[in-house]
Symmetry: C2
Subunit: 271 residues, 2 copies
C-alpha cells in the first residue's frame, strides 16, 4: 500500500481540519487514509498545532477517550481583528454608501465572501466555549454571516422568516415591536427547525435598539430554548440600547455628521 511523506500528510490533514471546524475527527480516519501509525499522525498533528498557535491562525485541540480525536477551532489574533475592523470602517465610510433616509448601503459587504468569512471567524471565536446548538438569524442580509458563524462552530443554522411558507410545514409565529420604529412585526419559524431545550446565539448584520433580538428571545421561549449571546457586524451606538445589553460587535456606527460623513469605529472590544 502506498506511503505518504510527512509533508503530504501535513498538507492533507490541515485541509481536512480547516474544512471541518469544531468537528471532532477520529485519528483512525487519518491512520486509514495514510496507512500510517497513530504515533506518526500524532506527530503530524503536533506540527500543525504548533504553527497555527505560533501564527495565531486558530488552534487544534485534542479530545481524549473513545469518542476522541482532534478538532480545529477558528481564531484570529487581536491585531488581525483590529486591522480587519479598521479596514471595514474605511470601506463603509465611502460617501456613495449614504442613501436617502441616512442609511448606509452595506448589502455588498454582507454578501462579500472574503469579508464575511473573516467577520464570521471573529464572531464565532467569541462563542467557541459556549457549546452552542444553533446559530439563529432573521432573513435576509445577515444569513451569510450567520452561516459562517454556524460553520465555524460546527452547528446548524436556523433562519427565522418574516412570513410563513408552505414549504416549512407547521410554524410558530410571534409578534414583536421594532425598538427603533415602534412598529409591530411578525417572525415565524418551522416547528421542525429546532429541538426543544436548545442553546442558541443570534447573529445579525446590524443592531439598532435591539427589538429584533428581543423578538428572537421570545420566539426561542416558544421552543423552550435559550439565547446565550448575540453577535452583530455593525452596532448603531447612536440608538440607546433599551432592550438588550449583552452582545458583541465588530464596528460601531455613530450616525452621519453635519458634513455628511459616516462615523465608524472599531468596536470597543477590539480597540
Amino acid at each position: 500500500m502506498e506511503k505518504f511523506s510527512r509533508n503530504q500528510r501535513v498538507a492533507t490533514i490541515t485541509k481536512i481540519l480547516i474544512e471541518n471546524p469544531n468537528k471532532v475527527i477520529n485519528l483512525n480516519n487519518f491512520t486509514d487514509m495514510f496507512n500510517a501509525a497513530k504515533s506518526t499522525i500524532s506527530e503530524d498533528l503536533v506540527v500543525i498545532k504548533d504553527i497555527l498557535m505560533k501564527l495565531s491562525m486558530g488552534r487544534v485541540e485534542t479530545i481524549s477517550g473513545a469518542a476522541g480525536g482532534v478538532k480545529y477551532i477558528c481564531g484570529l489574533s487581536g491585531e488581525k481583528i483590529k486591522e480587519f475592523a479598521e479596514r471595514l470602517c474605511i470601506i463603509l465610510k465611502n460617501r456613495e454608501r449614504i442613501i436617502p433616509g441616512n442609511f448606509l448601503y452595506m448589502t455588498d459587504i454582507m454578501f462579500n465572501p472574503q469579508i464575511i468569512h473573516t467577520a464570521g471567524v471573529i464572531l464565532a471565536s467569541a462563542f467557541n466555549d459556549k457549546n452552542v446548538d444553533y446559530v439563529v438569524t432573521v432573513e435576509t442580509k445577515g444569513i451569510p454571516l450567520a452561516y459562517e458563524v454556524a460553520k465555524m462552530l460546527g452547528v446548524q443554522l436556523v433562519v427565522v422568516r418574516r412570513e410563513t411558507k408552505v414549504t416549512e410545514g407547521s410554524t410558530l409565529s410571534i409578534n414583536y415591536v421594532s425598538g427603533s420604529t415602534g412598529r409591530i412585526q411578525t417572525m415565524s419559524l418551522s416547528k421542525k427547525a429546532m429541538n426543544k431545550g436548545s442553546k442558541c446565539i443570534f447573529i445579525d448584520d446590524f443592531m439598532k435598539a435591539g427589538g429584533t433580538a428581543m423578538g428572537i428571545i421570545d420566539l426561542l421561549k416558544e421552543f423552550e430554548s435559550e439565547l446565550l449571546g448575540i453577535g452583530v457586524l455593525i452596532d448603531n451606538v447612536e440608538t440607546p440600547k433599551k432592550l438588550v445589553e449583552d452582545y458583541v460587535s465588530i464596528v460601531d456606527f455613530k450616525g452621519i455628521d453635519e458634513k455628511g460623513e459616516a462615523l465608524l469605529f472599531p468596536s470597543e472590544m477590539f480597540k
Copy 2:
C-alpha cells in the same frame, strides 16, 4: 529573523490557499511571511499541488507574470460526488420530511453548513472555467448554497429580493410568471448590486418549471448582464422544463409515489 520548517510552511500555505479559493496569491506574501527564498516556497507549493491532485481534493494553479502567483481551485472526485448525492438522497427520503401539499421539508439541509459546503464545491466546480463575475440567487433558502459557490469562485454574491427595502437605495424590479403555479411575482435588486456587462450564474435550492430562472434572465438584462449557467441542489424532474434547458443539479426529485415515498436519485451528470 525566525526560520520555519518545510512542514510548518506547508501547513500554513495550505490553510491560506484553502481559505482563499480562486484568489491569486503572490509568492511574495509567502516569502515575506516565512523569510524564505522564492525557490523554497515553490518547492512547498509543489508538495501541496501534488497531494491535492493525487487525492482529488481540488488543485493548485500557478499563474505566471507580474500579477501572477498561485491559487487554489476547489474540486471533488466523481466518486466523492456520487457518494455525497447518494447520502443526500437517503437523508431526503426520510418520511417525516413529507409535509402537507406533498412538499419535501428541506430547510434544515439548506442551512446545514457541512452539507452546503460540499454541495457548493460540487456546483462551483461546474463553473470554475467560466470567469464568472457574480453568483446570483433569490432570497431565502438558496442563500447559503449560493454564498458557498460565490466563495469557491472568489466572487461577490448577489441576492435578489422579493420586495424593495429602504436600505437598498434605488432598485430595479421586474415581474415574472412562476412556471409551475402561473402566478405573477416580483423580484427586485438594488442598482448598486451589480456592474453593467457582468457575467453571472444563478444558484438556487430547487428547480421546478424554471420560472424563477427566467425571471433572473430578465432582471439581468436590465443590468445589461448575462446569465452563463444555472446550478441547483435539487431538480424536480416531474415538472417538464418548458422554460430553461441548460443547468446542473445534484439530486433529481421524481415526486412522491403511491406508498408515500419520495423518489430521489443522484442527478444524471453524477451517475
